[in-house]
C-alpha cells in the first residue's frame, strides 16, 4: 500500500506541466463524476511527461517542444476551424416536446439573448480530450500460494470512499490461484461504473459499437451520434475510444463528409488526427470548396506547428507566406493531392473575381 502511495505521488510529480498542476489540484477537490465535458486531470499520458521533463531539462539546448492538443494556440486554431453555427449546435433534440414560449423583445434584448446562446454554444463545443492510449496495468501486489484452490471465482475489492478521484481508486483482484493483483483498466472501468454510475454509460459495452452496427451508422451519416455515444461510454485514454474515433475519422475522410462534424465538439479532434497523420488534403479541399479560406489557412498553420521540420514549413518560413499563398506552398510541397488543391484554389479565385466584378 505504501509502495502504491509513493508511486502515486511520483506520478503526480511526473505530470509537472503547468496544466497538470491545476489538474491535480482539481482532482483532489472534486470527484470525477459526470464530467463529460471537462477533460480529466492529467491531460498528458504517462509517456509524454517524461519527454516533457526531459525536454525541460534540456530546454536550453533544443527547441523541440511537441505541441499537445491542449496548447492555447492549437486550441484557438481548432476552435476557429470548428465554426459556430447556432442552428446546428442547438438542433432540436429528440425528447418529449412542450409547446414553445414567446417573448417580445427589442433589438438590444434580442442581441443579448443571442450572445447568451453563443456562450452556451461555446460550452457545448468544448472538445473532449485527445490522449495517448493507456498503458495496461500489470502490477502484482502479493502472491499467496496457500490460498490456491480455496475459491473458484475471482474477487474484486474496490475502495468506494466517495471523495477519491476515480483514477486514484484502489481496485484489486484476488485470483483463485492466490495472486493479489491490481485490476486492469477494463475491470476498473466496470467496477467504477457499478458503484458510481455515470449517466449515459453502461456497464457492458453496448452492441452499437460492433463493426456491422457502426457501419450501419456511418451509412446513415450518424457519425456525430457514434462519437457522442463513444465519449459517454469509454474513458478518453482507453483503446476502444481511440480506435472508434480513428475509425470514424477514417470513414469521414473516405467519403468526404467533413461537414457533418463542423460546429460539433468533435471537429477539433478530427482535425488534430488528420494533421498528425498528415492527411489534411481532403479537409483542405472541402474547406476551399465551401469558401472557408481562413479555416484552410489555419489548418495549414496547424500543420506547420506540428511538423516544423517538414518541407512546406521551411518554405513557408522562408517566403513568409500568408493566406492563399500559404496553401499554395503546402500544395506544391507536401500534399498528396496537390494538383486537386491547386485546382480548387484556382476555381475559388475565379469565383471571387467574378463576384467582385459583378458587384
Amino acid at each position: 500500500m505504501a509502495a502504491l502511495r509513493t508511486s502515486v505521488t511520483l506520478w503526480s510529480l511526473l505530470t509537472g506541466s503547468r496544466n497538470s498542476e491545476r489538474g491535480c489540484f482539481r482532482a483532489r477537490i472534486r470527484p470525477q463524476l459526470g464530467a463529460l465535458l471537462q477533460p480529466p486531470p492529467g491531460p498528458c499520458g504517462v509517456g509524454l511527461p517524461c519527454r516533457r521533463l526531459a525536454s525541460e531539462a534540456e530546454s536550453g539546448s533544443s527547441e523541440i517542444k511537441k505541441p499537445t492538443f491542449m496548447d492555447e494556440e492549437v486550441q484557438n486554431l481548432l476552435i476557429k476551424m470548428t465554426g459556430l453555427n447556432l442552428q446546428k449546435v442547438f438542433k432540436p433534440a429528440i425528447q418529449e416536446l412542450k409547446p414553445p414560449t414567446y417573448k417580445l423583445m427589442t433589438q438590444a434584448q434580442l442581441e443579448e439573448a443571442t450572445r447568451k446562446a453563443i456562450e452556451a454554444a461555446k460550452v457545448r463545443l468544448k472538445m473532449p480530450p485527445v490522449l495517448e492510449e493507456r498503458v495496461p496495468i500489470n502490477d502484482v501486489l502479493a502472491e499467496d500460494k496457500i490460498l490456491e484452490g480455496t475459491e473458484t471465482a475471482k474477487y474484486v475489492f474496490t475502495d468506494i470512499s466517495y471523495s477519491i478521484p476515480h483514477r486514484e481508486r484502489f481496485i484489486v483482484v484476488r485470483e483463485p490461484s492466490g495472486t493479489l493483483r491490481k485490476a486492469s483498466w477494463e475491470e476498473r472501468d466496470r467496477m467504477i461504473q457499478i458503484y458510481f454510475p455515470k449517466e449515459g454509460r453502461r456497464v457492458l459495452t453496448p452492441v452499437i459499437f460492433k463493426e456491422e452496427n457502426l457501419r450501419n451508422m456511418y451509412s446513415q451519416d450518424r457519425h456525430v451520434d457514434v462519437l457522442n455515444l463513444c465519449v459517454a461510454q469509454f474513458e478518453p485514454d482507453s483503446a476502444e475510444y481511440i480506435k472508434i474515433h480513428h475509425q470514424t475519422y477514417e470513414d469521414i475522410d473516405k467519403h468526404g463528409k467533413y461537414d457533418l462534424l463542423r460546429s460539433t465538439r468533435h471537429f477539433g479532434g478530427m482535425a488534430w488526427y488528420f494533421v498528425n497523420k498528415k492527411k489534411i488534403d481532403g479537409l483542405l479541399i472541402d474547406q476551399i470548396q465551401r469558401d472557408l479560406v481562413d479555416d484552410a489557412t489555419s489548418l495549414v498553420q496547424l500543420y506547420h506547428i506540428l511538423h516544423p521540420d517538414g518541407q512546406s514549413a521551411q518554405e513557408a518560413k522562408e517566403q513568409a507566406a500568408e493566406g492563399l499563398h500559404l496553401i499554395k506552398v503546402f500544395a506544391k510541397t507536401e500534399a498528396q493531392k496537390g494538383a486537386y488543391i491547386e485546382l480548387t484554389l484556382q476555381a475559388y479565385q475565379e469565383t471571387v473575381i467574378s463576384h467582385s466584378a459583378a458587384s
Binding site: 449546435v89 432540436p92 433534440a93 429528440i94 425528447q95 409547446p99 417573448k103 417580445l104 423583445m105 434580442l110
Partner: protein, 430 residues
C-alpha cells in the same frame, strides 16, 4: 267438394295473365287444404313457376308455397290443381296500381309517423327476366326465343329436350334468387362517432355551383342530426330534420351551416351547399396548430384551447376534432365546459379561431420582435416575426408575477389536487 271445385276453378286465372305461359286448361281435383279463397285472390304471382319473392311477410311465403305445392311442375298426369284464369281482378289493374295497394304507403298508418320501420315493404318487378316465347314446354320460336335467321335460312319452330328445359328453368330460378339476394343485401353505412349516430359521417364534397365552380377538395362532415317538430293547423305535429354540417378543405378554409327539410337527405344537401357559402379562413401556425392559447365563452359554452407541439394530436371534444381535421389543425388540446350545445359550440369555435392574433400582427401591434424559445433547442432565440414598421427601443414591461387570470381547474390539476379517471387516459391517436 263444391268449394274445392271453386277453388280449383279459380286457380288458373291467377296464373293466366300477362305471361305467355301455355296452360292446359285441365282442371284437377284440388285435395290440398289451402288457405281461404280470399287469401288466394290477393296473391300476385305471375305463375306457379316463379319463385315467391322473399319478403318478410310470412303470408306471402306461405301462400306462394301453397301455390307451388299445388301447381308443381311435373308430367301432365301428376299436375295438381293447376288453375288458370285469363281474366280476374289482377288483370284489370296495372302492376303499379296493384303494388300501390299492396305496399300501402299512403293511408292512416303512414301518416304522423305511425308506420313501423320493419313493416316497410319493397316493390319488386315481377316481369324482370321474362322473355316472350319462353314457356314451360320449352318451344323455340324463331324471332322470339331464338334468332330468326340462321346462316341465311329461316328457322322452324322446334322444341327443347326435357333435360335442356329443366336446365333452363333451373337457371332462371337461380337468377331470380340472386336478384333477390342482391336486393336484400344491406349496405354498410360508414360509421361516424359511434354506431348509430350521424355525427362525424362524411357527405362527400358539396355540389358544384351555378357558374361551374367545383368544390372537389372540400369535405363535409355532419355534426348533428336532430328531429324537430312544428305544430301546424292541419296535421298537428310536423316533423322536420335539422342538420348541422361543417365543410373544410384541410388547408385553412372551413365553414358550417344548418339545413332543414322534411326528408333527411334533402336536409343534408341543403346544409352542405349552404355551408360552402359561409367559409372562414383560419390562420394556422406552421400548418399544424393555433398561434396561442384561446379561452372564450360563447353564450353558455366555455371553450379553452391550448397550443401543442407536433405529434400531440387532437385531444378535444369529438366535434372539435372533426372541425379541426377539416380546417387542417393537427395538434391541439381543447376543453369544453358549460353547455355543449352543438350549434353554439361550432359558432364559438369558429369565432375564436378566426379572431386569432398571428405572430406578425402581434409584432406590428407591439412593434417588437416576437422571439420563440423551444425547450428542445436550448437557449437559442428564434425570431418568428418582426414588425413591418419601426422597431421600438423600450422593452416590454414584465412584472415578476404575471397579471393573468388563472383557471382554478388548471391550478388544481397542476397542484395534484384533481382526482379524475379521465385525465391521462390512453385513447386512439388523434
Amino acid at each position: 267438394m263444391a268449394a274445392a271445385v271453386r277453388a280449383a276453378g279459380r286457380l288458373p286465372a291467377l296464373c293466366g295473365v300477362p305471361a305467355g305461359h301455355i296452360w292446359s286448361r285441365q282442371l284437377y281435383l284440388n285435395t290440398y287444404p289451402t288457405a281461404s279463397v280470399l287469401a288466394l285472390k290477393t296473391v300476385l304471382n305471375n305463375g306457379p313457376l316463379s319463385y315467391p319473392g322473399t319478403r318478410d311477410n310470412h303470408h306471402f311465403i306461405s301462400l306462394t308455397r301453397a301455390l307451388q305445392t299445388q301447381c308443381c311442375i311435373s308430367s301432365p298426369s301428376n299436375l295438381m290443381g293447376q288453375q288458370y284464369r285469363s281474366y280476374s281482378f289482377f288483370t284489370k289493374l296495372t302492376a303499379d296500381e296493384l303494388w300501390k295497394g299492396a305496399l300501402a304507403e299512403t293511408g292512416a298508418g303512414a301518416r304522423k309517423g305511425r308506420g313501423k320501420r320493419s313493416k316497410k315493404k319493397r316493390k319488386k318487378d315481377l316481369n324482370r327476366g321474362q322473355i316472350i316465347g319462353e314457356g314451360r314446354h320449352g318451344f323455340l320460336w324463331p324471332g322470339l326465343n331464338v334468332p330468326l335467321m340462321k346462316e341465311g335460312a329461316m328457322q322452324t319452330i322446334a322444341q327443347r329436350s326435357k333435360e335442356e328445359q329443366e336446365k333452363v328453368e333451373a337457371d332462371m330460378i337461380q337468377q331470380r334468387e340472386e336478384w333477390d339476394r342482391k336486393r336484400k343485401m344491406k349496405i354498410k353505412r360508414e360509421r361516424g362517432w359511434s354506431g348509430n349516430t350521424w355525427g362525424g359521417v362524411s357527405l362527400g364534397p358539396p355540389d358544384p355551383g351555378p357558374s361551374g365552380e367545383t368544390y372537389d377538395d372540400f369535405d363535409t362532415r355532419i355534426l348533428e342530426v336532430r328531429n324537430v317538430f312544428n305544430m301546424t293547423a292541419k296535421e298537428g305535429r310536423k316533423k322536420s330534420v335539422r342538420v348541422l354540417v361543417a365543410v373544410g378543405n384541410g388547408r385553412g378554409a372551413a365553414g358550417f351551416a344548418v339545413g332543414k327539410a322534411t326528408d333527411r337527405m334533402d336536409a343534408f344537401r341543403k346544409a352542405k351547399n349552404r355551408a360552402v357559402h359561409y367559409l372562414h379562413y383560419i390562420e394556422r401556425y406552421e400548418d399544424h396548430t393555433i398561434f396561442h392559447d384561446i379561452s372564450l365563452r360563447f353564450k353558455r359554452t366555455h371553450i379553452k384551447m391550448k397550443k401543442q407541439p407536433r405529434g400531440y394530436g387532437l385531444r378535444c371534444h369529438r366535434a372539435i376534432i372533426t372541425i379541426c381535421r377539416l380546417i387542417g389543425i393537427k395538434d391541439m388540446y381543447a376543453k369544453v365546459s358549460g353547455s355543449v350545445n352543438m350549434l353554439n359550440l361550432t359558432r364559438g369555435l369558429f369565432h375564436g379561431l378566426s379572431h386569432q392574433e398571428t405572430h406578425q400582427q402581434l409584432a406590428d401591434k407591439k412593434s417588437l420582435h416576437v422571439v420563440e424559445f423551444r425547450e428542445e433547442c436550448g437557449p437559442l432565440p428564434i425570431v418568428v416575426a418582426s414588425p413591418q414598421g419601426a422597431l421600438r427601443k423600450e422593452p416590454e414591461l414584465e412584472d415578476e408575477v404575471p397579471d393573468i387570470k388563472l383557471d382554478w381547474e388548471e391550478v388544481r390539476a397542476a397542484q395534484g389536487m384533481k382526482r379524475s379517471v379521465w385525465s391521462n387516459l390512453k385513447r386512439a391517436a388523434t
